[in-house]
């Protein structure tokens, strides 16, 4: 490579680093300051006071419960996606029935259905089903709207399994069930980790469904907690930002310990 390009690349990547990191720095530095300290010095200045009260405050205002609710939603959504998507994609990739092709096109189109657009009827259906203000009412639509992208990713992965391998299984007289568990799933681990990551992020960060479909404290998830935290009387910015930091902490922990799987998973999305 020519050195000239490296200078530009170095410059560009540093510029973007500043854009990404500066807000994160301001956020962290704000959360360890008192409200007075933050508003008198300006966000870019180095903190002159130190306190952990903002975190304590955020936690005592109910964030523990919000975490548990969000965790329930996230795990359930991931579980639904993991149970439903691989068999679906197996059928899409290997079945010769027209139904399966039609289903694939359906899910491709589903990619374009904005969840915002169907929120009114979903609200109606969830209320009629008696699931209003119930975490299950958030879980089901969230999982449903994660399906198209997951299907796209997973079927892409499964298509990469060569026909020869299927033929070898068939020669052995393997049933589809056996083929699925012994051939398809072991070779689709990459896709599986992608859809787990994708659906987990969708669920953890979901906002619209909880906003419309829940109301009480006992079913509140983190994103909604943040939103309400902002609109309460007498809010202070450092406290609010401490809540933001807390909301991302679990995901950050997963990221630190399982960075490779997470990144590889999402990288797979571009697919081939």
């Amino acid at each position: 490579m020519k050195p000239r390009r490296n200078v530009w690349a170095g410059f560009g990547s540093t510029a973007w680093l500043i854009v990404v990191a500066l807000p994160l720095y301001v956020m962290i530095s704000a959360t360890i300051q008192t409200q007075q300290g933050y508003s008198s010095h300006g966000p870019l200045s180095f903190p002159t006071t130190f306190t952990l009260d903002n975190y304590v405050g955020a936690f005592t205002s109910g964030f523990g419960l919000y975490f548990i609710n969000t965790l329930i939603v996230t795990l359930s959504v991931v579980a639904i996606v993991v149970v439903l998507v691989p068999p679906l994609c197996y059928s899409i990739v290997r079945s010769r029935s027209r139904f399966a092709t039609g289903v694939f096109r359906l899910f491709l189109l589903g990619l374009a259905v904005p969840s915002t657009a169907v929120i009114v009827p979903i609200f109606y259906l969830i209320s009629v089903a008696g699931l209003y203000d119930n975490l299950l009412g958030v879980i089901l639509p969230t999982a449903a709207f994660a399906l198209p992208v997951c299907t796209l990713i997973m079927s892409g992965t499964m298509r990469d399994i060569t026909p020869e391998l299927y033929e070898a299984m068939a020669v052995d007289g393997a049933t589809p069930v056996r083929t699925f568990f012994q051939l398809v799933m072991p070779l689709s681990k990459g896709g599986l980790s992608t859809i787990i990551v994708f659906s987990a992020l969708q669920a953890w960060n979901g906002f619209l469904f909880p906003l419309i479909l829940t109301q009480s404290e006992s079913t509140r998830v983190i994103t909604l907690g943040l939103f309400n935290f902002q609109t309460q009387y007498g809010v202070n910015v450092p406290g609010l930002l401490a809540a933001v930091v807390l909301s991302m902490l679990p995901v950050l922990l997963v990221y630190l310990f399982a960075r490779r799987a997470l990144v590889q998973g999402l990288m797979g999305m571009g697919g081939k």
Partner: protein, 305 residues
Amino acid sequence: MTTLAPRKRSARSGGPSVGRPGAVWAVPATIFFALFALVPLIFVGVLSFTSWSGLADPVFVGFDNWVKLIADPILTKSFGLTGLFVILGLITQTPLSILLGVWAAGHQKNRAVLSAIYFVPLLLSSAAISILWRALLDPNFGIPGQLPWLFGDGNLFGKQASAIAVLTFVSMWQFTPFHTLIYQGAARAIPPVLYQAAQIDGAGTVRQFFSVTLPQLRNSIITSGILMVVGGLTTFDTVLILTNGGPGTDTTITAFYMYQKAFRAFDFGQASAIAVVLVVIATAISLLVVRLSGYDKMQSAQEGI
């Protein structure tokens, strides 16, 4: 489980039809999806012909909502704003994430470290990101208050151009890491032999980028593009928290306008009509992209070589 007999058709990949899964395998997911996405979709069409405030049962009113919809200047304006928002998203995020993705695809140590930091915004929810930026951009106690030479009086949310710029910038901050990853993965999958051949032909780095890298990223550009368009059309939480559609109605994009009609004015019929329009536009754009690109055939660019 394979009760449906496989149909005898000339299979693409050939091979025996024994051991192929039937359509049953697709049924559970399809039913689930139909229940929460397709049924509501049909239902939203029906509701668009009713008047419903949520207090009593919906009343059929014919084309009333549609007539009102055509005559609503705020809605017309929202279409333009949505289009603008989507296009701004595409032209800011696509080049940036291609460049960053291709750059990060290199295996150098420093690139790995920087990529790890680039990734962080992806971990935050839209709600968290919007709240963070609202605080950062406060005219008196945020960054603008400290850098008046750059931001003037800091009235970013009080003028249309700057409010749109803020929304575009925040979307860029939020979504670029994701699209960067897509391109990073795709760039790594480009066979080195292509670059070697280009080098033999005497192509420089820039030529290589345009004649090898970009064409090889074609499918990723389509995937990422569709996700950006659909994402842009449905952007709602960012607008709600950052600008609340203002100043006035200057950032009231269609998805947000629908939310206002539904859950602030409780005019669910009118909101449903707007929703139908949104769905039609989103579907049309996706169909167009899919058709133009032959994407539904799911062919890998690599298969060509």
